[in-house]
């Protein structure tokens, strides 16, 4: 009975459990190679909202990042969850995370930067997974990533691949690992000056390829599968302040068994460089 009680809340988390950490001029849902200037701080407050059938999840997040060098940054992510599902609701702190990104290649030319970075994120189990809906996964998970970015004055393009490895909880449930693929283009229609407000429009193609979950080694039905999203977004900045937002709209859902398809996911963040 306790096992069943722990499975459903954990499975509810599967579809929404993607790495949302993003840096300044990176895509909204994907990941880019941008880091932070040495000894700089970035403080970001974020709002995430997602809906999948009767499951509604809202998350308030606080991220703090630090530039260790001009090519290496690290940070912490502290989420607060507000969830509702099948008439139940819960709220509280979710799974805190630490992350780091290292930009190992950079090619700078006039008004253009191409770069690539690797990243690592460790997501803890600080959220309470016994609540319904669960506020945490009950496991410690990791996400490794590789990203490429082309940042020009008018055009941007990014590509990234991330792999999320999920741990096993006390009930023996291991949510299927996920591969995340992102392809993004960005466009700055007006070339503004350094002190002027600046707008970049983004269009992302985000893919999530999920493995089947296992319970004590046996496959769990109605888990795993693939989803692809088209995600329009924007980045508006002025000096050291940025507002970023976007919405993910599913275009392809190839989920195993009888799972609810994603309806939408949305994100809005406010960031300061200090």
């Amino acid at each position: 009975m306790r096992t069943k009680c722990l499975i459903k809340p954990a499975l509810v988390l599967i579809a929404g459990m993607v790495s949302q950490t993003a840096f300044a001029h990176d895509p909204i849902f994907g990941q880019g190679p941008h880091v932070l200037f040495k000894d700089g701080f970035e403080v970001a407050t974020e709002v995430h909202s997602s809906k999948k059938g009767n499951e509604l999840e809202n998350e308030l997040g606080l991220e703090v990042k630090y530039g260790i060098t001009g090519d290496w940054a690290m940070g912490v992510d502290l989420p607060y969850e507000i969830k509702a599902d099948d008439g139940n609701s819960s709220s509280g702190f979710g799974d805190a995370a630490i992350f780091t990104k290292y930009r190992f290649w950079r090619k700078d030319t006039r008004a253009l930067q191409e770069s690539a970075a690797v990243s690592l994120k460790i997501i803890s189990d600080t959220g309470d997974e016994t609540q319904a809906p669960a506020l945490g996964s009950g496991t410690t998970d990791s996400v490794v990533g590789l990203s490429y970015g082309y940042e020009g004055r008018s055009w941007y393009r990014w590509a990234s691949v991330r792999y999320r490895q999920n741990g096993t909880n006390n009930a023996g449930l291991q949510r299927g690992d996920k591969t995340l693929l992102d392809f993004v283009v960005g466009w700055r229609p007006n070339l503004t000056g350094y002190t002027e407000p600046d707008m970049v429009y983004l269009l992302e193609l985000n893919g999530e390829l999920g493995d089947i979950a296992t319970l004590n080694g046996s496959s769990v039905a109605n888990t795993g599968g693939d989803e692809w999203f088209i995600s329009p977004g924007f980045m508006w900045t002025v000096k050291n302040f940025a507002v970023r937002g976007g919405i993910q709209l599913p275009v392809v859902s190839d989920l195993n068994g009888s799972q609810e398809k994603s309806d939408y996911r949305a994100k809005l963040s406010f960031e300061w460089h200090l």
Binding site: A24, G67, T109, R110, A111, E196, H273
Partner: protein, 103 residues
Amino acid sequence: MSKKLIMSIFSVMLLIGSMQQSFASAGTHYNIRVDGLACPFCAYGIEKKFKKMEGISNIKVDLDNGIVSVDAKDGLVLKEEKLKKLFHDSGFTYRSMKTTPLK
């Protein structure tokens, strides 16, 4: 007559001396070529690092041409090695610089 001449010469010398003083204290304007400058939000780190340096003012960033310009007070010399490190730490690449005296 000689007193007037001496006073005149003295006054001219004082005037020349003060002009030299004003020229000497004006400082230096730096035009620095920097690569990788594509977005204003990302360039903020450059401004922040220059603002930490004493004697630096009038910081401007020209994204389209990849130029960062600053004024340095008299006696402050921005060496190439220091600029390379400053821009590297900001996430960009220093290329070259030109200096002109400030008037």
